[in-house]
Subunit: 155 residues, 2 copies
């Protein structure tokens, strides 16, 4: 089994997946605690993607833990191809959700100055959630690249 940092079935891979779970959960919690976030399509979409991300990362973290305990090899090409495709789709969804929410937050804070005018708008929570979503995306991109690199090294 090749040892590429962050690939499935390695310690670094497991740490990456657990960090994704942590950041996705924290970002989703920050969003849910903001008043009326579901009125805005961009925030609703980001929350949905974050929950999907959390479930996917949790599933892969469990796979990694199982593989590390039982010394099972997760690097079969078919298995890996499936992982890498879903990983890339998740990374693209996460990036689009982050961009959409960031632009709406900038619109509230800078363009329209709604945050100062409407006190009920939880701009701090929105900003916190978007920042955490950015870190989730960075970690997801790292996992996707590492899986892709491993797949390329088979050919």
């Amino acid at each position: 089994m090749k040892r590429i940092v962050g690939s499935p079935g390695t310690w670094s891979g497991m740490v990456l997946r657990l960090s994704q779970c942590f950041f996705a959960a924290a970002s989703s919690l920050a969003m849910c605690s903001a008043f009326g976030f579901s009125n805005y399509s961009a925030y609703f979409y980001m929350n949905l993607v974050l929950i999907l991300q959390l479930l996917w990362s949790l599933y892969l973290a469990c796979q990694d833990i199982f593989s590390l305990r039982n010394n099972r090899d997760l690097h079969a090409p078919d298995f890996l191809l499936f992982f890498v495709i879903i990983d890339w789709v998740m990374a693209i969804l996460m990036f689009s959700a982050f961009c959409a929410s960031a632009s709406v937050t900038i619109f509230f804070m800078k363009d329209m100055n709604f945050c100062a005018e409407y006190r009920r708008l939880d701009c701090n929570q929105f900003t916190l959630s978007v920042t955490l979503a950015f870190f989730t995306w960075l970690l997801q991109a790292a996992s996707s690249f590492s899986g892709f690199w491993l797949l390329v090294s088979f050919f």
Copy 2:
């Protein structure tokens, strides 16, 4: 010289680049003709990225035409690596700009219903511009993948 569809120095590559120029220019024009677009960060950012995209695609279309007329090989690995890196950066910038603008347009049209309330807001122009930017991104992604595939085939 390997003939991969859409790669530099081929007819299909040139058609892809010229289509990118056309869609980027059309999207930018649609945006500029909308009243007060530069008040919104997302639209301003998208317009900036569209102008960058137009310049980059125009430069590469000229390279393709020059290469086709003079039978020059554009597939030297160093030259290709430079192309592919900038192509990927442009594709990521274009995607982020499209997502940001689309989310602000959805916010205007669906979430807040501003388009029906404020007649001066050129929602049709914004929608047209965002749609054209989406096609620009699709074409840019096709070019990036084709260049990347060519680069991988060297190793």
